[in-house]
Amino acid sequence: MTTEKKQAELIREISGVEPLKCMKCGKCSATCPAYNEMDIKPHQFVSYVANENIEALVNSKSLWKCLSCFACIERCPRNVQPGKLIDAARQIVLRQKGGDYLKDEEIPELLDEELPQQLLVSAYRRYKR
């Protein structure tokens, strides 16, 4: 099995998403508030996994732009849940050595007076292993 095939299977497993349920209506992309920041769009998450095009997916900046706001999950008419797919792709990156998207030394300059703990905690979980 190729690495990409393995990874595609891993993404399916972690996310619990069946990409074949997708009917390609594009409602996820129509709904996504971070759409314009993404290079690979929410509806493409599904086809990238279905086509085992994982290398491109895990290198996509979309991994770090998804807000996990669940709008795509809520509105998907086929219960495909693209947001879970991109999260699983992110997990694959984070679970590798050196996959962190946030370096400790970056943090001090990102802080300000009002910044709530919740933000740091969430960002840690999103960006770091």
Partner: protein
């Protein structure tokens, strides 16, 4: 002892590929009762059936086992073949070695072994079969059609034209159904009323057709050829014989604030009303929830102004009992409620409407007198967005998993009509797929694009966002350009999914007709018997069976009608001989069986019995073979084991169990 012949079918390679048919023949020969066994390429073919006839003669067979496809497919075929060969048709059993064996197993050893066991079970059963003889029942030469939309009207007209009496029961005050609410019809754009109204008039005027409007089916009993139906004629509070249909009562009625059902709630109607001007019958009804007289006892204005003296506040619901030989369900559909789709802002904005509401807006008799305008402020829209598949093709519990089928076409129709009448209005259609199979349908859709400049965008809409300035921001996908679009619109029209009429489940239950998970009535066979319900004597017409447009509905209505005519043309029907019967010596008359019988087929008689020399009168269960449908509930309920089912007797089933477990 029976003399049984076993016939093993190859079904081409369908069976022979995974079942060693020769081996089955060889093994089954040694089963008790089997005197002959052979295999053949296609048992259902004429040559195959001929082989059965020859074997019956040569081997003096008394019973037959055919190892072939499902009995649901060819049991009747082989029973008829046996009958032609001089056997009782109920001496035939089928071992299903195709659907239940060869098609699901890959390993030939496994398949062969299972086929042998299935054949053995069938042989064991036939050993205990007895000849059965169907009874006869009479046919009432009159049909009932439930629902007075285009499906019901067309079915009734076709049945009546063939010379049979037919009654239509319609629950609203007028026949006409959803079609009467449409403005224009695709793909020819004729005005809906212009083609429907004459049919409504024909139905009302036909000497063989009786209309029960504002009426509902209350109770159904009986069986094919002989149904008894209670129809509730709801009180109209208007004497139909006296009413001249002048309309003065509606004009004078002071209670005018009830949302009009006919106008999809977009306009109001009075408490005494006919749903629309061309209503048939043109006799109003009083909506007692809205009527001031009924609510407070005061008013009575309609009675005062009615010159014909037709208003009668004391009228009561009336139950009419009629006999029918056949019943057609034509209960139609409605659009789904959009409460699960608030991302499209239907409940938040008046300018987001359903396509059916748009029909009323575009219609000259509608709430805006046919002017295309925003319902919030009456302004003329400049930018209209249509959203397809709202609630259709949703497998997520919010909507319907099926395609509603008609939306692509009516949206193209709406887009075209708007661009034609208001060329300065821009029309955008968000679609997932455009599905336009049908004669002149795809050409119609292409005309909308190519001639009328309708902008089709491939992609679903995520959200409709009402703006402070009253406009609607439509956020959708353009999958071909890989863009997220934000489009400002004045109106948004939702191609709302359709669903079977809410009452259909209740009606199907009364008729014991089966219904699928989406509340569509099930056909007896999806391909070969599409207008019949599996319940004998019940026929399907229109959308109650599945989404369809007007031409298809009319075709199906005609097909249902001819099936009904075919039934009514018979004087007698053969009844199913697989019915229950009580062993007089075992029955103790306890009534347990009658309590579980869903058909009321069991009654009790005092009978003289001779129980091993003791003569006495006992109360004994008697089954009416015309009413019994052969479910077998009584056979298990019977505490003394007196009740048994012909064709599926305790001994037969136990023999099958034994054969399988051997």
């Amino acid at each position: 002892m029976q003399r049984i012949g076993v016939f093993v079918c190859h079904c081409g390679s369908n069976i022979a590929a995974t079942v060693d048919v020769k081996k089955v023949v060889e093994v089954i020969r040694s089963e008790p009762g089997v005197v002959h066994a052979e295999d053949y390429q296609y048992m259902c073919s004429e040559a195959g059936q001929e082989r059965i006839a020859i074997a019956v003669k040569e081997h003096k067979l008394t019973g037959i086992v055919v190892c072939s496809c499902s009995p649901r497919m060819h049991e009747t075929t082989f029973r008829k073949a046996a009958e032609r060969a001089g056997l009782n048709p109920y001496m035939v059993e089928i071992a299903n070695i195709r659907e239940h064996c060869s098609w699901i197993h890959k390993d030939i050893n496994e398949g062969t072994e299972k086929a042998v066991i299935l054949a053995r079970a069938a042989v064991a059963k036939v050993n205990l079969n007895t000849p059965l003889y169907p009874g006869e029942s009479r046919v009432t030469k009159r049909a009932l059609v439930i629902g007075g939309g285009i499906a019901g009207i067309q079915t009734a007209l076709d049945i009546a034209d063939a010379g049979y009496e037919v009654d239509i029961v319609e629950k609203t005050p007028s026949i006409g159904g959803i079609m009467s609410q449409l403005d224009k019809t695709f793909p020819t754009l004729d005005c809906s009323a212009c083609i429907l109204t004459p049919k409504m008039v024909d139905a009302a005027a036909h000497e063989k057709i009786k209309l029960y409007t504002y009426s509902e089916v209350e109770k159904v009993s009986g069986f094919v050829g002989d149904f008894t139906v209670d129809i509730r004629k709801k009180a109209r509070y208007v004497d139909a014989d006296k009413c001249t249909g002048c309309g003065l009562c509606q004009e004078k009625c002071p209670s005018k604030k009830t949302p009009s059902e006919f106008n999809r709630g977009l306009g109001n109607r009075s408490a005494i009303y006919t749903p629309f001007a061309q209503a048939i019958p043109n006799v109003p009804v009083i909506d007692t929830d809205a009527c001031i007289k009924f609510k407070t006892g005061k008013c009575g204005l309609c009675q005062k102004v009615c010159a014909a003296g037709a208003i009668d506040y004391t009228q009561k619901d009336e139950i009419v009992t009629e006999k029918y030989g056949a019943i057609v369900v034509a209960t139609g559909f409605d659009t789904i409620k959009l409460d699960n789709y608030d991302e499209y802002a239907y409940n938040q904005s008046k300018d987001v409407i359903t396509s059916l509401e748009l029909e009323r807006v575009m219609n000259a008799a509608g709430p805006t007198h046919g002017h295309l305008e925003r319902l919030s402020d009456g302004k003329a829209p400049k930018e209209i967005v249509f959203i397809q598949c709202v609630g259709s093709r949703c497998s997520d519990d919010r909507g319907k998993p099926y395609c509603s089928k008609i939306c692509c076409m009516y949206t193209a129709k709406h887009a075209m009509l708007i661009r034609d009448k208001y060329p300065d209005v821009n029309v955008t259609v968000f679609y997932i797929d455009v599905r336009t199979p049908g004669k002149n349908f795809d050409e119609f859709y292409r005309r909308a694009v190519e001639q009328y400049g309708v902008n089709y965008v491939k992609g679903q809409v995520g959200k409709v966002i009402p703006q402070p300035n009253g406009k609607l921001l439509v956020q959708g996908s353009d999958l071909l350009d890989n863009k997220q679009i934000l489009k400002e619109a004045d109106m948004v029209v939702l191609a709302t999914a359709i669903e079977p009429n809410k009452d259909v489940r209740k009606i199907a239950t009364m008729l014991t007709a089966s219904i699928d998970t989406n509340n569509f009535l099930t056909e007896a066979h999806a391909k070969l018997r599409p207008v019949e319900s599996p319940t004998a004597g019940i026929f399907l017409s229109g959308v109650c069976q599945g989404p369809k447009d007007i031409p298809e509905t009319v075709s199906q209505a005609g097909a249902a009608a001819i099936k009904v005519v075919g039934l009514l043309a018979k004087d007698k029907l053969m009844t199913n001989p697989c019915t229950a019967h009580a062993d007089e010596l075992l029955c103790n008359g306890c009534s347990t069986c009658a309590n579980v019988c869903p058909y009321g087929a069991i009654s009790y008689e005092d009978k003289q019995v001779n129980d091993h020399g003791i003569r006495e009168t006992r109360r004994i269960a008697v089954v009416n073979n015309a009413l019994c449908q052969g479910c077998g509930a009584c056979t298990v309920a019977c505490p003394s084991g007196a009740m048994d089912l012909q064709g599926f007797s305790n001994r037969q089933i136990l023999a099958e169990v034994d054969a399988i477990c051997r």
